[in-house]
């Protein structure tokens, strides 16, 4: 009844689903990945920040492994007592020793586990903070780089993977590792023949582990990509149910998810069959070891006159090692994938510099000046810049309102981003209140100019938390005042818990207009001297559209404002209009002036108003 053909190749499973094929093989790495060496050096550096803690942790872990390795010897000694017809007292004494050593082992194990896990968690917390730290300063404003956002969210997943590993796996693995080493050493001290046996079987284990890990690593990597694509496909289909149903592509989307799900399953099954083979392989050194312990034991007792307890101890050592060895190898799998996550995190931390102020200048007023500013996002094959904004000089007086009008791709949004400083132009200077952005204090400029872009995002957390991003110390009264300014107080009051209502992806879902109002309320709280509005217009005719328009006006009052105008009614109210086409300003002046000019704008207005 099996309905998955486990023997099919990934390519066969993917079939004609080109999207899935692309998702699995493209997997563009937009973010730097640290090499193994780099990652190791980085981890050592972080460990050395906790030098003493690390050293103590190490000692305790070794101690607990030693205690664990003593146990078989004590048991062996008990057998020896019996074999040599010893006294009942001696047996009781050994029993007491077993209890004592077991207690020591238990305590050391508890402390060691806690310390390893704490150390890992501390280092990880520092790393994830650094990753987000760097991520927040990456230039996200330009369209060409939006892929970075997706790549970064993958880093957030990496943090998660690493955290899970640190929780259980790492303490377990480190303790297992020490246990194996110390136990093998203990065995080797029993007899030189046993040492010889250890020398023979250890390489076999190492070989088997290498054989296994080499094969599983790429499978796991690919499976993870398939699982990511699977989740993405499912999410976007659910989000897009209206579209899916309108276009009648429900089977296509279901199959897309199914194909990726089956791919992940087939890949996972391949790992599982490797696990099976691995267990079979490991049986070889295990069998060799069992046989040789019995034969060596025979020889030890009858040729060298060793006590029987020694042989017993050796046998117990051996059998008690089988499971930890196997567990160790299987755990290495997860370590591998945690390691991959780690190297991505280290890559981000080490290759992106934290944002720093380029200079000390501070804006003196809310005027703006652009000197010979031009921009291109990319260069073509000949190394020529693909210019999206041709050189422009522009002076905007403090308090002036300027509207940008033009078709899509005319360079309006690019100019708007340059004006706020979220995009650094390739050429020219941008001055805010006399301060050159290339030499200005970064925090001063950030709080001086804000842009409301087309992306609306409601942050996770309560409504108050969302607003407080703009002003952390705002009082409740100030928050309500800001909401009143954008006429959002009415619906905010109706929320189940008012300002304390959970919003964002997990909480109350806000409409597009409400989200936009929230964006404007943040501006009111942030209170920048310069405001750039590059918002998407609200749905026509919705009651919210007018509210939004009023809200934008209210928030813009008293600030130097640049509006990327989607409707000419917005442009009409501005002090000055810049008409843009193909990266150039082709006309500029107040509304009446431009209408009288009888140029591009006049024709637009004519079409709009009649």
């Amino acid at each position: 009844m099996s309905m998955i053909d486990w023997n099919r190749s990934v390519e066969e499973v993917l079939g004609d689903d080109t999207t899935a094929q692309r998702q699995l093989d493209e997997h563009a790495q937009l973010l730097p990945i640290a090499s193994g060496g780099q990652a190791a050096r980085f981890m050592l550096a972080r460990l050395s920040e906790h030098r003493w803690f690390t050293a103590v942790t190490l000692l305790i872990t070794i101690g607990s492994a030693v205690a664990a390795a003593i146990l078989p010897r004590l048991i062996g000694a008990a057998v020896g007592v019996v074999d040599s017809e010893g006294t009942s007292r001696a047996v009781w004494a050994l029993g007491g020793q077993i209890v004592a050593v077991g207690a020591v082992q238990a305590v050391l194990m508890a402390v060691g586990w806690t310390m390893i896990s704490s150390l890992g968690q501390r280092i990880l917390a520092g790393m994830r903070e650094d990753v987000i730290d760097r991520a927040l300063d990456l230039p996200a404003q330009s369209m060409e780089q939006t892929g970075i956002g997706d790549a970064l969210s993958r880093v957030a997943d990496d943090v998660d993977v690493a955290a899970r590993a640190v929780n259980n796996l790492v303490p377990n693995l480190i303790q297992l590792g020490f246990l194996v080493v110390v136990t093998l050493a203990g065995m080797a001290t029993l007899s030189p023949y046993l040492l010889l046996m250890v020398v023979v079987i250890v390489p076999l284990y190492v070989l088997a582990a290498r054989w296994y890990l080499r094969r599983t690593a790429p499978l796991y990597r690919k499976e993870r990509v398939a699982m990511g694509a699977r989740a993405q496909g499912l999410l976007s289909a659910i989000h897009g149910i209206p579209t899916v149903n309108a276009y009648g592509i429900e089977r296509r989307e279901t199959r897309h998810v199914a194909v990726l799900s089956e791919t992940a399953a087939v890949l996972n099954m391949r790992v599982m069959s490797l696990v099976g083979k691995m267990v079979a392989l490991i049986n070889i050194p295990e069998s060799i070891a069992l046989l040789s312990v019995m034969v060596i034991g025979f020889a030890m007792v009858h040729q060298a006159g060793a006590p029987l307890g020694l042989v017993t101890a050796a046998a117990i050592y051996l059998v008690s090692l089988f499971w930890p060895m196997l567990a160790f190898i299987f755990n290495l799998d997860d370590v591998q994938s945690a390691g991959a996550s780690l190297s991505r995190m280290v890559g981000v931390i080490t290759s992106i510099d934290p944002a720093a102020s380029p200079g000390p200048q501070v804006p003196q007023d809310s005027s703006i000046r652009l000197e010979q500013v031009s921009h291109s996002y990319t260069t073509d094959e000949d190394g020529q810049e693909r210019v999206v904004l041709h050189p422009i000089d522009l002076d905007i007086a403090a308090g002036e309102t300027v509207a940008l009008v033009g078709a899509s791709g005319a360079g309006k949004s690019t100019l708007a981003s340059i004006i706020t400083g979220t995009l650094t132009p390739r050429h020219g200077r941008v001055l805010h209140g006399g301060a050159d952005l290339a030499r200005a204090d970064i925090e001063a400029v950030r709080s001086h100019a804000s842009i409301v872009s087309q992306d609306v995002h409601v942050f996770r957390g309560t409504l108050a938390e969302d607003l407080k991003l703009a002003r952390p110390l705002a009082t409740e009264e100030e928050l309500w005042a800001a909401l009143r300014t954008v006429e959002a107080d009415a619906w905010a009051e109706r929320l189940p818990k008012g300002l304390e209502t959970e919003v964002g992806e997990k909480g109350e879902r806000l409409s597009a207009e409400q989200s936009q109002q929230l964006a404007l309320a943040r501006i009111a709280l942030q209170d920048p001297a310069v405001l750039v509005l590059d918002e998407a217009t609200a749905d026509e005719g919705s009651s919210g559209a007018r509210v939004l328009e009023r809200a934008a006006l209210a928030v813009a009052a008293g600030r130097t404002t640049v509006i990327v105008a989607h409707r000419l009614s917005q442009a009409k109210e501005a002090d000055r209009i810049l008409v843009m086409a193909e990266g150039r300003v082709v006309e500029q002046g107040p509304h009446e002036h431009l209408v009288a000019l009888d140029g591009v704008y006049a024709r637009l207005w004519e079409a709009w108003s009649s």
Binding site: V99, A106, M109, I132, N283, D455, A470
Partner: protein, 606 residues
């Protein structure tokens, strides 16, 4: 592209939506186990053999030492050791067989549940649900996985328990005190585990949720990166994340302590137990009741039992998680009006069926002819008040609504989610008929959703098969882009038609997304097309281009188009404008005529 697989039946299934929601819903775990009962029938005994052999190995070694080494018989030693090795080999083979079989079954179930839920959620005949997409995703992934784990768990837990019991019985037979010590050990272990596990798993859950919270904050901030940068509040976002991360760290440190204590305690119990067994067995041996080999075997068995108990200790928590997940899967399917064993949701159907839009399976072979236009006969749904409207073939009609609720009600009616008295030709648009009508009617949702794929694939979503999707002739795509005023995209996108558009168009601006969706609907070339506010995210200049090109593209003798909009450019280019206010048609005519009405003029020129 065409295949002979059965089409998705377009007739509604025996109305699952009306199924009694209170009716007992079939259990998911039961369904999973039932589907694999034949596998379990041979896997469980085999697993018992492999677990039993694990317990027999220390006993075997004890015997070899007794009769081989102690007796000084090399032959017996070697043969005995070989026998133990052979026994282990049998055990390993059994283990591998059961492991592979149960893993296959487990993965198949995960896949089956996942695909069934996906199919059920997307199926237009399922009952609508109001759950966040993230929740559905987590049920279809992690809960489906966890519920299927029952197939992973049974072949291991059941035999382990049996073997542990068997070992205890054996020890009791050897010596009552040994059996009692063993039993006491088991009881203490269970008590320790029962006491610790709940606290521990609570800690663990707490830590996981704090860690998840921190991770979600990270993702959220990164997604809102542009907004943060626009506001210039990166440093505050940083501080916010640092706080969350520290809270998560605190929880993790507490959890680390508890995990440490728990592992220490189980170690301690194991140690005590071992000491007791060693002392008792050694005393009995000294008294001559047991042989040395049995002594060694007893110690080995005790160790193995304690190891198995440690593993088994996780089982109750595992089981609890499993049944919670299974319940979640069942409830989601139940809310959708489906069950886990729904015949429509079998893997075979869902993975082989092609979409049917009413024109037969496998797509639209060729261009559809005229459908007879779109008609509304005194529609009174929602806020509408007996609206009569006719969009004949060959015309583009615009409807300007003073109240957005009228626009929504109108679109709702023609999309067939309610039976409101709209027709395509002679065919009424009703919830039952809407699936068959999809070949002739496309109501483009106003909220734009794009799916991962190249620009060409976006446009080809529902294009007739005559449109070349291999890039050999992109004239159809050029035409669609032109009609949507999106020709500039070809210049902007680095690889033209082959540029990959990410899910939800996240690598595009709002205006670009909206125009691609518009081009997609034009490329679909439906006999009847309904658009709602298709130009809200574009600027006035582009809107002009769109109005001219869109109307020109749709004004064909066998095509009917209805545009609900207030954009003056679109209104002016339409053949006829219908002005709706307070649910009624207050005026009809061309845009220039209607501009004489003061309230109409104010509405469109705001």
């Amino acid at each position: 592209m065409h295949d002979p697989s059965p089409p998705l039946a377009t007739a509604p299934v025996p109305d699952p939506a009306s199924a009694d929601p209170a009716a007992p819903r079939p259990g998911v775990l039961r369904s999973i186990v039932r589907a694999h009962k034949r596998m379990l029938a041979w896997v469980l005994p085999l697993a018992a053999i492999s677990e039993g052999i694990e317990m027999l190995v220390p006993i075997g070694l004890g015997l070899v030492i007794d009769h081989g080494i102690v007796a000084g018989d090399l032959r017996v030693t070697i043969l005995g050791a070989l026998a133990v090795v052979a026994l282990r080999l049998v055990g390993t083979v059994c283990w591998i067989l059961t492991f592979l079989a149960s893993q296959k079954a487990c993965m198949l179930e995960r896949h089956r549940l996942r695909v069934a839920m996906t199919g059920a959620v997307l199926d237009p005949r399922s009952r609508g649900i109001d759950r966040p997409a993230g929740e559905v995703l987590s049920i279809a992934t992690s809960d489906a996985d966890k519920a299927s784990d029952v197939l992973d768990m049974l072949p291991w837990v059941v035999p382990s328990l049996l073997v542990v019991l068997g070992a205890t019985v054996w020890l009791t037979v050897l010596d009552v005190w040994l059996g009692l010590a063993m039993l006491l050990g088991i009881v203490v272990m269970v008590v320790v585990i029962r006491v610790i596990t709940p606290t521990l798993s609570k800690r663990y859950d707490d830590q996981q949720s704090q860690a998840a919270e921190a991770a979600a904050t990270a993702t959220d901030l990164v997604h809102g990166l542009r907004v943060l940068q626009g506001l210039g509040v990166q440093s505050r976002a940083r501080a916010l994340y640092r706080r969350r991360s520290r809270v998560a760290l605190e929880a993790a440190l507490v959890n680390a302590r508890y995990s440490g204590i728990s592992s220490g305690l189980t170690t301690l119990v194991t140690g005590l137990m071992l000491a007791a067994v060693v002392v008792i067995a050694a005393q009995r041996t000294l008294a001559g009741d047991l042989s040395i080999g049995v002594l060694i075997a007893v110690v080995g068995v005790a160790r193995t039992v304690m190891g198995m108990l440690q593993g088994l200790s996780g089982a109750p928590v595992w089981w609890a998680g499993m049944s919670t997940s299974a319940r979640r899967v069942r409830d989601l399917l139940g809310d959708l009006g489906r069950t886990v064993d729904d015949e429509e949701l079998t893997l075979e159907r869902l993975t082989t069926q092609r979409d049917d839009r009413g024109g037969g399976p496998g797509g639209l072979a060729e261009r559809r002819g005229a459908a007879g236009g779109l008609h509304l006969d005194s529609v009174t749904t929602g806020t509408l008040d007996s609206v009569d409207l006719t969009v004949d073939d060959g015309t583009v009609v615009a409807v300007a609504c003073a109240d957005v609720r009228d626009a929504d009600a109108l679109v709702e009616t023609v999309s067939g989610r309610t039976d409101g008295g709209a027709r395509v030709g002679d065919r009424p648009i009703t919830p039952q008929e809407r699936m068959q009508l999809r070949a002739d009617l496309l109501v483009e949702p106003h909220v734009v959703d794009l799916f991962d794929g190249t620009l060409r694939e976006q446009l080809a979503t529902r294009a007739p098969d005559t449109a070349a999707t291999d890039g050999s002739d992109d004239a159809w795509a050029d035409a669609a882009l032109h009609a949507a005023g999106a020709g500039d995209l070809l210049r902007i996108l680095p690889e033209g038609y082959d540029t990959r558009i990410l899910d939800r168009g996240s690598n595009l601006s709002g205006g670009q997304r909206q125009r691609i969706a518009l081009a997609r609907s034009v490329a679909a070339d439906p006999p009847v097309l309904v658009l709602q506010d298709p130009t809200t995210a574009v600027d006035a200049v582009t809107e002009q281009h769109i109005a001219e090109a869109l109307v020109a593209a749709r004004r064909r003798t066998d095509r009917a188009t209805l545009i609900v909009t207030r954009a003056p450019a679109l209104l002016r280019h339409a053949d006829r404008v219908v002005y709706l206010r307070s649910g009624r048609i207050v005026a009809e005519g061309d845009h220039a005529e209607l501009m004489d009405l003061e309230d109409y003029r104010e509405m469109v020129q705001r």
